[in-house]
Amino acid sequence: MAEHLLEVKNLKVSFRTEDGVVKAVDGVSFTVDQGEVLGIVGESGSGKSVTMMSVMRLINDPNMRVEGEVLYKGRDIMQLDESRMREVRGSEMAMIFQDPMTSLNPVYRVGDQIVEAVVTHQTLDKKQARARAVDLLKQVGIPHAESRVDDFPHQFSGGMRQRAMIAMALANNPDILIADEPTTALDVTIQAQLIELIDNLKDDFGSAVVLITHDLGVVAEIADTIGVMYAGRVVEFGEKRQIFYDPQHPYTWGLLGSIPRLDRPKLDRLHSIKGMPPSLINPPQGCKFRPRCPHAFERCMEEPELASHVDDRDHLDRCWIDVDTKRAIRTKTIHGETAAA
């Protein structure tokens, strides 16, 4: 079997709190290959950010407990000591965050912050590093990069700050770029610019991208594979077309049906998933989606494994309902009442 660029095996992350143990991530496994874009979709609290933060080993909390393996090019980075991990972080795997307003340091010039990222991992003199920073800013589409490099973050707009963050993340040509909701805080027009940018970067640099988002529209545009997360688990995993055209998990149907869509006739009523996401301290017994699932039956009291139920072996889901039944009942949820008739 060919080695994956990144392979996460049975990752579990829990936090001890006053109220009990929060199982934020509970047995997540996935792989990412060279040049691939993996979209991780889920609602707030589904564990998507914690998963990727743990992969980068960015959470440093005495009450946290991490189990599982994270293989990067075949080597388990969970076992690396902190100084070796620092070498991996930034140069081999880089991350950009949701909020471009808070992830840049307001008292340093944008250029200096990029230079810092450059010289941490590369031996360049000041002048070369600065030239590299200007270069990077140009690549991410900052106009007049030669002069803007000396600006402070507050002189940049939100979209430009996110571009600067991407420039910083790309400073050392990482193999994997992890983007945590990179477009959520931005307007659609700016979001479109950034989607185009990330898409081009993938082609120009050959990096793999892990895109964390709650927006199915964004993953439809740029992801190759998609993992849908719910309550700390991956409930469905597959190629983009499988997820959109043959979704197997009722939660995925619910997500697809909840979005008011511009490409379809206006519905009288939106589908909505009843109830709220479960507590991760006392998760429901069996399938975690059971309390909100309109199709739940007795067997759902036992939690299904993430396994393939369809012809395509790479398309995995956690649901007991048999495939033919699912294909028959899901239309109403996904397309709304009118389309089902």
């Binding site: 027009t189 439809a220 979005i259 511009l262």
Partner: protein, 357 residues
């Protein structure tokens, strides 16, 4: 959604400028043109969607409509009565009829007050009923918005984002208003909760005959809730049309670009369609571009766009736009619009008064 046609809210040439002061004496050195000469009306029982990028002035306009901000110029008529110049005391009874739902359910509820006190505050301020009646009304409101009357004594932190937003809606409903200005009421919520909230707002509109001004940046959401949609760009109203019409035949290139930027959750459609990626950011509203404010980012831009500001004219009945190079219009619509534009230029105004009254 039923609309009986009579305008509940009319705004005419409303401007809101924020002065920028500098120096010891606080001299005004410049102005932020947040809302610049906007006119439209909202019919009784209808939902008007207000869309645009951040900084286009949609929230400022929403607040100005409710007189939470003082308009710099222009007139606002509510139920036929001009409220732009009313004093605090005169305005007070009218406040009952106009309420607001805010974007951030975490910031808009006082964390030290119990839910009952939060929802009951408008009743207390306006002296509606005695303590017992108020309490009863609050419990009723909790039920209306899908919470339980037992939540009366809880604090906001005990609720999730979606539930908090319901509390915000209950508070807005307390005085049985006619008009609700909802400023991004669902943008802080997850998709599954967002759809619950949109359905709730829809039900409430039918049940209590509400009129909404729905401010949002998500065009999918706006299309779902709105009867008519107004598009703003840099303080100007650039297009106004019935919802479906706007999505099917956008006239203003900005609207076209905005629509094409919305990601579609369908991989095949998403691959097929042409995306217009606007370059650059929204310019500064302190020194807005000359002529058409959209010209620096517009792909159809010609010289006239830099020099002359296009008036807002009606192309198809009910569909207004301000553009020198309108899209999706036929000859008849164009001729009609041009005649109207000529009249307006002669009269020396940049925005047409809104038709269909």
């Amino acid at each position: 959604m039923s609309t009986n046609g009579a305008p509940l809210l009319e705004i005419e040439n409303v401007k809101k400028y924020f002065p920028i002061r500098k120096g010891l004496l606080g001299r005004e050195v410049a102005r932020v043109h947040a809302v610049d000469d906007v006119s439209f009306s909202v019919r009784d029982g209808e939902t008007l969607g207000l869309v645009g990028e951040s900084g286009c002035g949609k929230s400022t306009l929403g607040r100005t409509i409710l007189r939470l901000l003082e308009p710099t110029a222009g007139d606002i008529r509510f139920d036929g009565r001009s409220i732009a110049k009313l004093g605090r005391r005169q305005l007070r009874p009218l406040r009952r009829e106009m309420q607001m739902v805010f974007q951030d359910p975490y910031a808009s509820l006082n964390p030290r007050k119990r839910v009952g006190a939060i929802i009951g505050a408008p009743l207390q301020i306006h002296n509606v009923g005695d303590g017992k009646e108020q309490k009863k009304r609050v419990r009723e409101l909790l039920e209306i918005v899908g919470l339980s009357p037992e939540h009366y004594n809880r604090f906001p932190h005990e609720f999730s984002g979606g539930q908090r937003q319901r509390i915000g809606v209950a508070r807005a409903l307390a005085l049985r208003p006619k008009l609700i200005v909802a400023d991004e009421p669902v943008s802080a919520l997850d998709v599954s909760i967002q759809s619950q909230m949109l359905n709730l707002l829809d039900d409430l509109q039918t049940e209590f005959h509400l009129t909404y001004v729905f401010i949002a940046h998500d065009l999918g959401v706006v299309r779902h809730v709105s009867d008519r949609i107004a598009v703003m760009y840099l303080g100007k109203l650039v297009e106004l049309a019935p919802g479906e019409e706007l999505y099917a035949h956008p006239i203003m290139p900005y609207t076209e670009a905005l629509l094409s930027a919305v990601p579609i959750p369908d991989p095949d459609l998403s691959d097929q369609r042409e995306r217009i990626v606007l370059q650059g950011d929204v310019p500064s509203p302190i020194h807005p571009p000359s002529g058409c404010r959209f010209h620096p980012r517009c792909r159809y831009m010609t010289d006239i766009c830099k020099q002359v500001e296009p008036p807002l004219v009606e192309y198809v009945p009910g569909h207004l736009a301000a553009c020198h190079h309108p899209l999706n219009v036929d000859g008849a619509a164009l001729a009609r619009a041009e005649a109207q534009a000529k009249q307006l230029v002669q009269a020396g105004v940049s925005a047409a008064p809104e038709p269909h009254k």
